[in-house]
Symmetry: D2
Subunit: 349 residues, 4 copies
Amino acid sequence: MDHFPNLSFASDYMEGAHPAIMQRLAETNLLQSAGYGTDEFSEAARRKVRTACRAPEADVYFLVGGTQANATVIGALLKSYQGVLAPASAHINVHEAGAIELGGHRVITLPHTDGKLSAETVLAALAAYDEDETREHTVMPGMVYISQPTETGMLYSLAELQAISDVCRMYGLPLYVDGARLAYALACPENDVTLADLARLCDVFYIGGTKCGALFGEAVVIPQHGFIPHFFSIIKQHGALLAKGRICALQFDALFTDGLYDTIGRTAIEAADRIRTALREAGYREAYPSPTNQIFVLLDKEKARRIAERVELSFSENVDETHCVIRFVTSWATTGENVDRLIRVLKEE
Amino acid sequence: MDHFPNLSFASDYMEGAHPAIMQRLAETNLLQSAGYGTDEFSEAARRKVRTACRAPEADVYFLVGGTQANATVIGALLKSYQGVLAPASAHINVHEAGAIELGGHRVITLPHTDGKLSAETVLAALAAYDEDETREHTVMPGMVYISQPTETGMLYSLAELQAISDVCRMYGLPLYVDGARLAYALACPENDVTLADLARLCDVFYIGGTKCGALFGEAVVIPQHGFIPHFFSIIKQHGALLAKGRICALQFDALFTDGLYDTIGRTAIEAADRIRTALREAGYREAYPSPTNQIFVLLDKEKARRIAERVELSFSENVDETHCVIRFVTSWATTGENVDRLIRVLKEE
Amino acid sequence: MDHFPNLSFASDYMEGAHPAIMQRLAETNLLQSAGYGTDEFSEAARRKVRTACRAPEADVYFLVGGTQANATVIGALLKSYQGVLAPASAHINVHEAGAIELGGHRVITLPHTDGKLSAETVLAALAAYDEDETREHTVMPGMVYISQPTETGMLYSLAELQAISDVCRMYGLPLYVDGARLAYALACPENDVTLADLARLCDVFYIGGTKCGALFGEAVVIPQHGFIPHFFSIIKQHGALLAKGRICALQFDALFTDGLYDTIGRTAIEAADRIRTALREAGYREAYPSPTNQIFVLLDKEKARRIAERVELSFSENVDETHCVIRFVTSWATTGENVDRLIRVLKEE
Amino acid sequence: MDHFPNLSFASDYMEGAHPAIMQRLAETNLLQSAGYGTDEFSEAARRKVRTACRAPEADVYFLVGGTQANATVIGALLKSYQGVLAPASAHINVHEAGAIELGGHRVITLPHTDGKLSAETVLAALAAYDEDETREHTVMPGMVYISQPTETGMLYSLAELQAISDVCRMYGLPLYVDGARLAYALACPENDVTLADLARLCDVFYIGGTKCGALFGEAVVIPQHGFIPHFFSIIKQHGALLAKGRICALQFDALFTDGLYDTIGRTAIEAADRIRTALREAGYREAYPSPTNQIFVLLDKEKARRIAERVELSFSENVDETHCVIRFVTSWATTGENVDRLIRVLKEE
């Protein structure tokens, strides 16, 4: 069976949508509206996103998925001869099947710590480009891409983000933040980066819906109005323009009504924190000190195999002959009962 | 107001989804499944599509939208130095913002009648290429793109489609049919092309969902299993892979359960036929003899202006100083009451 | 035999280079210089081109061939979502194997007369785009491409070029002129467009070398310094940067020394004029009233066949069952003796 | 002054062409021939290249430059969703300004030793791809690119090349060898890889002309006839088709007449060997044990500065605060007298 009636911590996109979102879609279903995001539902959702980001002038676009959003934004920001600076672990480098290159651009990979770039690393890369006498024969850095949280669930602090933003602005490079799992960053007690901070420090970022309770959808936020001219056409050219644009917008309307986006994040983080506590008590070792909704555990393969027989997982990475890393992911849909069951499994194995 | 509480025949993508689809999404909403279309819901939907197409070996993929499906399929079928033959009126040539060119390919436009290519036109283009002594300096035709129905609602007959298919096979060129509004073709009394015919005569086609009752989604059918190797990666590279693939698949599951796709088409065609009859009785002239759910009326601009004050329309094209073409579109959601109201307007003006 | 010891009017790129060019290459052959056009020979050639164009601030780049120059310039001028307006007969549309599309852009073809666009046609296309309510779903016109002379040897007058330039500037679109055979335009008595006019009215143009006496090479002129930032890297990215850049530059140095480019053009035009006079006297019909170095003759196929047995030709186009068009091309290398021989053939057949 | 009348070891593309090449161009200059490499001169040159490679069936194409050849070949060999495996130091990764990405493909970089990939590294990369459960979300390796010699002048032995070829064939991946400086590899006493070996073990390779005595030009060799269908059109689409194709071909005709390509290589290697001997005697340290025409010397910056005042160099790389690497390059044009002068400088500083 492919849909797991039992215990699963495989990912945060295994269910449909948060019931409040389903409700919003159902109640508007037979109303008529114009297409392509030019409707009043979409406009209302954009207003809510702007308010949440304290960015009253922001351009907001609702795209269907993360790879699509990344390819469209990066294709819009780069000149033909430029590449995007990113940590080697970046989603655009690892798991987007060459979508950036299809658009004609290189992902210029940089060293990172747990998926995080430092301002120093970015600065060094830009300085190295400037000092390279053969730079006109190389790919020019044209923007910076990072994720909050990273692929392994880590967070940039406000100070770290500010520092990267400062370097970008000094060099005139747009900073773009991929927020596929942003709800889970925002809800972390450790987190000190707000949506308003992102709007202040980034040139473009997206607020993830697909992995944060929506059926699908990512809200691309461009804080400075008009920063990307003709972005509508660019979205269309990338095959990323939804005819019934409202279907995406309505979901973000729900996510930004009555604090749902926060609630979704908090639910997942509380579940993850309970699991983390149990893991520590049972003597497990975390592979990365992730405070968000992904927990990476380093353990011996035999034990991993036994756990995987009882819990649905989707990620396993070999570390050496006898050890591997497995991942538990919580979400808005994780129940306390299932957390209890998982903790039981972890203690028994 | 952007969502029209009143009378609208602007398009067939103004509502959400057919209630049966909303029902299917709601009832499965909290079930868990694997991502990216590898789940059992997606497999079930694929089986239903295969059955409907009498193509038991077909590869079936669910994509989000039409431009996306076209760019992905065409990018997959063409070699880097090839272009796609299409009528000049084709959606890929007119309204996709250069998505095909972004992928590196030319749309090679051919003359057409009401949006339809003839087998003779395709043959002539291929023969001209073969006879051109400078052909190695030109763009090589690599496939043929047509729509059923066309942009202006016209149908290919089975004989016409067979003839185009024969030319394509003689020359070894894939034939691809864009079925954005396929339900409305299939439901026409005039139509003699079945899904099974499409599966037999095309190399790839898509069954439209977005404009035929779904929230979004197009089912790409590749009748011959394995005809496009690595199509999954190609979809991913085009940013067209839905994380919660089941959300698209479940909608097609519903569309191909209890004949819903047929019902949707029939509802729209019956409404359109009633409007067409009223138009003729009232002495209006149709711009194209479309038998599907789009009706194009040629009339003087003053009259068009008056009608547009009372009925929401989205399409108007100038013909000369004093005349224009307006369009009425029906759909699965068109009610008999609104058809009555429209007919009243048409008779009064 | 492939190199024709006998009578040939097949094209203007059948020999090596004008002897003065060979002489310049030979006398500098063992001198050393820096690569990639950063050397003093290249700088000297740029100065001569600037002087000839009365464009003291111009950026000048030497590229190897016409398709390469077109793809590189057009790729540099267009945004990702834009296309290039061009007559349907344009080289970029007909004989460049999809090089512009490989770079991600559409060639937006316009109607023309003998390969010439009119300002009215350009204006109409731009106005139609502006008035199209769906324009954001279409390919945005981003620049204008024309050729001087056209593919069939016709000339834009200064008034015509000025009018097109005016439209382009009104709409903020760059105007680019492909001058593959520019020498033959400049040398025509009918011509009233100088290099200085091109520099004044265009944003980019290229002065053809390959078909005008060089071994190869086209001088891309950008009258306004800095108009295309990072053009060096764009050239490199297009594989269009010659390591020994001086080899191309030295040829243009020779072409713009002692009026060689004029001499080359004049030699070809005088030969073509003698042939045209003989054709009229012998009752032949010209297919286009070309005043440049290409002469297109409309005649019955049998006669064409007989001529082709005695004269090497490379172009023949069927007009109807019994008629075709053949082409005679003169060049800097055409001798008076061979013109006499051709005239004899034309009179005898 | 940019052309160095004095002592220069900056690169191997500072002069025009070997006098035998200039002679061949001069003596054929006024002969007429067909364009685009369809002429008899080109055919004769192809025959000579086939003979030299003992590859009687090989397709041979003459392209203008290395970046152009790489972009064209790689664009032809890869499917849209594939990338090219290459050492991180590869020219396509470092110094081609994103030409491969412009064509839509990723350069998948691998660890290397002095620019050389090992068969084990390639095998590990291919195995890792096969074992990656998420591989359909990643860029698929589609071919392998290496250089002989490498960027730092190192050689693959026949055994090493054979091993890489074996891995490629086991996995069905084309192997492509960039031979920009191939003459200098072939002439090395240490070298045991012949042109015939390359033809046997690679799917495509190119024999460098630009850096080996030609004005410009690289001979792309495809040992198996028809391995790349429509390569002519692909070349044209990349703007890489020379109108006067013979100008490139005649140079390779000369290079493969009377052993000129060997002579050119030997002249450079003998000069380099004399310099290497002198360096060792004078106690200098080589940064890489290159046996070809590039010598990389590690020394303190002050000494490097003093040498650079007396000898023209083009390459300098910082190693640490006080040390750097400088490069001496010899060529077919290096005279014994200048080698003596350089040795004197090295001993005096």
